[in-house]
């Protein structure tokens, strides 16, 4: 497990001290995708860089399977790898195969093992046909896929993913998500930062939300949405307008302490919408029917992780970089 305790990182200049991470405690166990979501000035990338041994913390501790990155950086580096979206992290003038071979040798992967692993990884990321093409002739998506293969060349116990799908086409991003989910199922501990909240919601079993370097909240995506008090939205489509039904809906909403929306539908009917933390679809439908209305359709939109994050902070403060 990767564990940080009361982690703090300050960046000092001659005149100022900026606190990027402030008292962060989190755990990244094997076999799970752990999300790290950030509000403005969050310190996500700084946290990942500390875990990856690229930066030293100002105070607090990091342990990777009980190893201290400050004292045993080489041993930690053998257990981890890092993939950062938006950064190439592979050599442009080398071919895909040469890149994987070189990084494999840096990790001291035995030649006999590396030979097979390079071919497996090229196949895994769909670059077998382009294996002997230099990276400078790759598309952005191909280079990113190679970067992902590079991140797996040492068969890491922990994979640190910093915005890994940034700028990727949707099908490639989907393939990457499938790969990450598979790695976690097979026992890899994954720490994921992403500003695509649907991605985090899809992959992560546990999410830490941090803001300005400090812990805000943590839990599974479902727990976060429940904790944030996010509303389900019920939409009922009525075949035709009816003052009686509209009055009944308004009364129902008033009893719940909320408002109901009424919008004309294209087919001449009307759409009633009502948001509430509880599941009120059934009672609302019964109220409509009791008032003489005819249901032409009903849908319930469950709150998303994005709703939860937006509830935790103002939308403009959500980090997108």
């Amino acid at each position: 497990m990767i564990r940080t305790d009361d982690l703090r990182k300050e960046f000092r200049t001659r005149r100022t001290t900026a606190v990027a991470v402030d008292g962060l405690t989190l755990e990244v166990p094997r076999g799970r995708v752990t999300g790290l979501l950030g509000l403005n000035g969050a310190g996500k990338t700084t946290t990942i860089k500390i875990m990856a041994t690229l930066l030293h913390q100002t105070s607090g501790t990091v342990r990777v399977d009980e190893l201290d990155p400050l004292r045993q950086p080489d041993a930690v580096r053998r257990r981890i790898n890092l993939i950062a979206g938006g950064e190439r992290m592979v050599y442009a003038r080398m071919t895909g195969r040469e890149n994987l071979w070189y990084f494999g040798r840096l990790y001291d992967v035995p030649r006999a093992v590396l030979r097979g692993r390079v071919e497996e990884l090229l196949e895994l990321v769909g670059l077998t046909a382009a294996a002997d093409t230099t990276v400078e002739r790759y598309s952005r998506g191909m280079a990113q896929r190679l970067s992902i293969a590079r991140g797996l060349v040492n068969d890491p116990a922990y994979l640190l993913l910093d915005e890994p799908t940034l700028g990727l086409d949707a099908p490639i991003a989907r393939d990457l998500r499938r790969l990450v989910a598979r790695l976690a199922r097979e026992g890899t501990g994954v720490l994921l930062t992403s500003h695509y909240l649907t991605e985090v919601e899809e992959l992560c079993g546990h999410v830490y939300v941090i803001g300005e370097g400090r812990h805000v909240t943590a839990g599974s995506p479902a727990e976060l949405t429940a904790r944030a008090g996010c509303h389900r939205t019920v939409r009922i489509r009525l075949a035709e307008r009816s003052p009686g039904v509209e009055a009944a809906v308004a009364a129902f909403a008033a009893r719940l302490g909320t408002d109901a929306g009424l919008e004309p539908a294209d087919d001449g009917g009307v759409v009633v919408s009502l948001s509430h933390p509880d599941d009120v679809a059934g009672p609302l439908a019964m109220a409509v029917v009791a008032a003489g209305g005819t249901l032409a359709g009903l849908e319930v939109a469950e709150p998303s992780l994005e709703d939860a994050i937006l509830a935790l902070a103002d939308a403009p403060r959500l980090v997108t970089a």
Binding site: L54, R77, I80, E87, M89, A92, R93, E98, L106
Partner: protein, 272 residues
């Protein structure tokens, strides 16, 4: 076959990688371009000696350098300067080149320290430079230059002294470059300083005393005295100057390698 130690594996992989990339990126045009500097230096010295000096050097030059063979003096100096500048360009710029290419983070999360990586770069650089210097010396011979070598052992010691001096300076410069985030001003400042202080193309006795003393702080100065003894004056290698070159070069290397992790973390604050 026994498995080589990880450091050897890394150095060899880095040598092989750099060789492949350079062959792909810089074909013969680069080799010819860099060679021209040395060839022109010797050629212009030849023309100047004939046109201005009437083929003879002043007695003061011979007294200061220990030789009356001006072209031999210039050829050795040009070859050593080429060795030094190209060695520094390859080795010192290796890490900032990684930073510019966006591969520094990927490199730094791998287990090996920087010594085997830089050793691989150094091995490649010295191999490439050996080819360049060989061609330069061959061109000089065509112009009638004959070098005064005191024998293979001295020649090897001279190359060792210059090689250690250049590696040490490169390790320090590498740290300076990734902290400064730029290479050109840093490298050109250093090249100017060593060209002035280390006695590549004129005798250091011509410098003011303060600059002669400043030159003693630069490893290439003692190394050049070793090179001159082996290839120019016929006096052979001075043990004192050899010890100074190796000692100062190693001190620079140790300082540079100890400084590099701090410089790398500084660079990591800005980018991957």
């Amino acid at each position: 076959m026994p498995t080589p130690p990880p450091a050897v594996t890394v150095a060899w992989a880095t040598f092989h990688r750099t060789w492949s990339v350079t062959r792909r990126a810089y074909p013969w045009s680069y080799f010819v371009g860099t060679l021209m500097l040395g060839v022109f230096t010797v050629g212009l010295a030849h023309l100047g000696l004939e046109a201005i000096g009437g083929g003879r050097v002043a007695a003061s030059f011979a007294a200061a350098t220990g030789t009356a063979d001006y072209l031999g003096y210039i050829t050795v100096g040009a070859a050593a300067f080429m060795f030094t500048t190209h060695g520094i360009l390859w080795v010192a710029k290796a890490l900032i080149q990684e930073q510019r290419e966006g591969t520094l983070g990927a490199l730094l999360v791998t287990p090996p320290g920087r010594l085997p990586y830089l050793a691989g770069f150094t091995a490649f650089a010295y191999t490439a430079i050996a080819l360049e210097v060989t061609v330069l010396v061959a061109c000089a011979r065509v112009l009638g230059v004959r070098l005064e070598s005191t024998g293979p052992p001295d020649a090897l010691l001279a190359v060792l002294a210059l090689g250690v001096a250049v590696f040490g300076m490169s390790a320090v410069l590498s740290a300076v470059m990734i902290i400064a985030g730029e290479a050109h001003i840093t490298q050109n400042t250093l090249f100017f300083a060593i060209a002035l202080l280390s006695g590549f193309t004129f005798p250091r006795q011509d410098l003011p005393a303060v600059l002669r003393w400043a030159g003693e702080l630069v490893p290439t100065t003692a190394a050049m005295d070793v090179v001159r003894g082996a290839f120019t004056t016929g006096a052979g290698v001075s043990p004192g100057r050899l010890a100074a070159a190796l000692g100062l070069g190693l001190a620079y290397a140790v300082a540079g390698l100890r400084w590099l992790p701090l410089a790398e973390r500084h660079a990591m604050q800005r980018s991957y």
